[in-house]
């Protein structure tokens, strides 16, 4: 059984949020619409809703993260949940405790939701398969596989600026090979019927048969950026430089860096996105990152509403643990 079906209940409702692949347009628009309705909460004087009052959310981060972890924390708090963040990369895992043992221990603390980030592809699904049935698992990034809430906040941001997906041209630029963000975003854009999804990268940063994901492949920025409405720049991890994937940061920036000059090839009202943290001068020029086309900080803000939406939707579909009052 694949993750696609595994994260849904018999009625096709989301029990977990592990991957975008295999979801329907309805699933995605539900999340987007819910996020839209939650978006205003942050502007209120009291930034809280009672939706998850009395629920306990545990952030299980086996891999370092600032942005994702913080926005998940804020999202849970704004829904009135109790939140605990465990950075396991620096605690029990190094003492040799197995992942299952860690899970059992945390489960024993009677929580309702795990938000999981792990360096291994498939880790979130593994956890979802092994937790008690009343616990919802949200994938906050597993290896190169998926980062579904990031993809949702990306399409949420795109929809706010350019809601006409069938007539949209999106270019995703950079390290597609190692990117869970790219994989999830490609699935989300396809499901929403995006007219043209392009990836732009040297062959060393593209996974095998990437075109089967429903994208057009470009190796040159000048061709790939032409007339696009949305440019999504991916983070190039500095450690990738050691793997003989690229000769140097300089050459990468010269070939694939997003400059004002190159951005001019896109539509005049194109938006520029980046999942962060950005490497100025490696994948993106500061003038673009801080310029009028950039919606990078908006993405961060939107991340909270989208994560609130996913949390309330998945927990809403969960059977209550035995013995709990209706």
């Amino acid at each position: 059984m694949s993750a696609t079906h595994f994260q849904l209940d018999a009625q096709g409702r989301l029990l977990h949020f592990l991957t975008i692949e295999g979801l329907t347009r309805r699933h995605l628009t539900d999340i987007l619409d819910t996020a839209e309705s939650l978006h205003g909460v942050a502007e209120r004087r009291v930034k809280k809703l009672p939706t998850l009052h009395g629920k306990t959310v545990i952030n299980l981060f086996f891999e370092a993260s600032t942005r994702t972890r913080t926005t998940f924390e804020l999202a849970a708090k704004r829904l009135s949940a109790d939140v605990l963040t465990l950075n396991i990369a620096t605690s029990s895992a190094v003492k040799g405790e197995s992942l299952l043992d860690t899970l059992r221990n945390i489960e024993a603390m009677q929580c309702d939701m795990f938000v999981v980030r792990h360096e291994q592809s498939g880790a979130a699904e593994f956890i979802a398969r092994h937790v008690k049935p009343h616990i919802a698992v949200l994938n906050a990034g597993d290896g190169r596989h998926a980062h579904p809430t990031q993809a949702m906040l990306d399409v949420f941001t795109i929809r706010r600026h350019k809601p006409d997906f069938p007539n949209l041209q999106v270019a995703i630029v950079g390290d597609i090979l190692h990117s869970r963000v790219a994989r999830s975003l490609i699935h989300a854009l396809s499901i929403l019927g995006t007219g043209d999804i392009r990836v732009i990268a040297p062959r060393t940063l593209l996974p095998a048969q990437v075109e089967n994901l429903g994208v057009r492949v470009f190796h040159h920025m000048q061709e790939g950026l032409r007339d696009v409405d949305v440019v999504v720049m991916l983070r190039l991890q500095r450690e990738r430089m050691e793997g003989a994937l690229l000769p140097s940061e300089q050459e990468f920036f010269q070939q694939y860096g997003l400059t004002e000059e190159r951005l001019a090839l896109a539509q005049p009202d194109a938006i520029v996105m980046h999942p962060g943290p950005i490497n100025r001068g490696v994948e993106i020029d500061s003038r673009v990152a801080d310029g009028p086309h950039s919606v990078i900080l908006e993405q961060v803000t939107n991340g909270i509403a989208v994560r609130m939406a996913v949390m309330s939707i998945t927990l809403g579909h969960h059977a209550r643990p035995v013995g709990e009052d209706a």
């Binding site: 059984m1 694949s2 993750a3 595994f6 692949e21 197995s98 992942l99 299952l100 792990h118 291994q120 592809s121 498939g122 880790a123 699904e125 593994f126 597993d142 290896g143 190169r144 596989h145 998926a146 869970r180 994989r183 996974p207 095998a208 048969q209 990437v210 089967n212 994901l213």
Partner: protein, 425 residues
């Protein structure tokens, strides 16, 4: 002990024999087929009507985990599984701990196997000291101690100069060299490089990691005239390379693991760690080519590539699990399933499990000729069992075939003329 196996369909691929007849066994040897030898009085009669009687199976690659990893399995536990699966001869690669790079380890394994008293356990010696790929192992001494060949033990020698010399040195002592063909630098991944790995975000292992290595090694064989056996092929292109080399008369052979004949990359769905194997499960096209290679003769043997694990080894996110499938229990039944579902000729499949591997080993076993060692497997081809969780006799329950309906049930096995297994019920 005199035994008559009565009324079975005797399949002996080495002699192209497929006939319903009585098989007579005396003093550990095959005494006669059809007519009882003069004065033969059976001590025991085995009713083999509606059963198939074939040579005991020979498995070219089974890790018994002993010495060194007794928490996974032992020689005793795994030979019990083998015997119930009709496997009479097991070949252990040298990557035990300590590795089989000195005669004492061979002797130790032999004693443990004898104490277990189940099947014939053969060993491959290490090509290099500690399998490190640096210094040659004492191959002459290993041969004297009884190893049936020498091997890289699943850890290819990185240095081509060392490999070339190891091949030459092995050939000096007429040892067959068993190589595991993959380029370690191209094999850091977890899954076949292709569509599925891309979707799942699993680092890929390209088919070229295997093909490229085989192509290079074949050139060394051409140069040196060394006998080389390539273990566990996984790609279509590899089959092609081996077929061509054999057609040219190079002294090479190859085998395939049974799971590569049934599973593909698609079976990784849901990050099923039971399908985490090396080499990785490849495409449907590769699987079909492996099956075709089995029929054409490019592949001379099917092996279990048995790798039993404790449950914890597979209970983790895919990339944190250990590769390998527990395969002894299901080698015969999965091979029969190839016959039943995919129309592969029964005779060919049995050949690849018996005299095919025997020829690679250069041993006079794996056939039912008069005077041959009486290793015999009797099985009911019509019995079908649903493989239940926990049903494997191996200590390793790590099998992706749990839940499969598997044909064939071994009813008796004979090792050197003694009945060492009799199915209950």
């Amino acid at each position: 002990m005199r035994i008559v196996i009565q009324g079975g369909r005797v399949l002996d691929p080495a002699h192209h024999l497929d006939t319903v007849a009585d098989l007579f066994v005396a003093d550990g040897k095959i005494a006669s087929l059809g007519q009882a030898p003069a004065g033969f009085i059976a001590d025991r009669t085995i009713d083999a009507r509606h059963r198939i009687v074939c040579p005991g199976l020979i498995d070219l690659c089974a890790r018994l985990r002993e010495p060194g990893q007794e928490h996974k399995a032992t020689i005793a536990s795994e030979t019990r599984a083998a015997v119930a699966g009709g496997i009479m001869t097991l070949v252990c690669p040298p990557d035990t701990d300590p590795p089989i790079d000195e005669p004492a380890v061979i002797e130790w394994i032999r004693r443990r196997a004898k104490a277990a008293g189940q099947v014939r356990v053969l060993t491959l010696g290490a090509l290099t000291h500690r399998l490190r790929g640096e210094r040659l192992a004492e191959m002459a001494a290993l041969k004297e101690a009884g190893c049936v060949g020498v091997s890289d033990g699943g850890q290819p020698i990185g240095n081509s100069r060392v490999l070339r010399r190891a091949l030459e040195y092995a050939a000096t002592f007429d040892l067959t060299v068993f190589l595991t063909p993959f380029d370690p630098e191209l094999s850091h991944g977890l899954a076949h490089e292709g569509q599925v790995a891309t979707r799942m975000g699993l680092p890929g292992i390209p088919a070229a990691a295997e093909n490229g290595r085989i192509a290079r090694d074949l050139e060394l064989v051409r140069d040196l005239g060394v006998r080389v056996h390539f273990g566990r092929l996984s790609s279509a292109r590899s089959v092609e390379l081996i077929a061509r080399a054999r057609a040219e008369g190079l002294p090479v052979s190859a085998d395939v693991a049974i799971h590569h004949l049934h599973l593909t990359e698609m079976d990784l769905a849901g990050f099923d760690s039971r399908c985490h194997v090396r080499p990785p499960l490849r495409s449907l096209r590769d699987k079909d080519a492996l099956r075709a290679g089995l029929v054409s003769g490019a592949l001379s043997a099917i092996c279990s590539d048995h790798q039993p694990h404790e449950p914890d080894a597979k209970q983790a996110p895919f990339g944190d699990t250990e590769p390998g499938i527990s395969g002894l229990d299901t080698l015969l039944s999965l091979s029969l399933r190839l016959v039943r579902d995919s129309g592969l000729p029964l005779m060919t499949v049995i050949e690849r499990l018996t005299c095919g591997p025997a020829q690679i080993l250069g041993l006079d076993i794996g056939h039912l000729g008069i005077g041959a060692t009486a290793d015999v497997c009797v099985f009911d081809p019509d019995a079908e069992t649903l493989l239940e969780p926990g049903a494997l006799r191996s200590r390793g329950q790590n099998s992706p075939f749990i839940g499969w309906a598997l044909p064939g049930r071994v009813t008796q096995t004979l090792l050197e003329g003694r009945v060492i297994y009799q199915c209950e019920g």
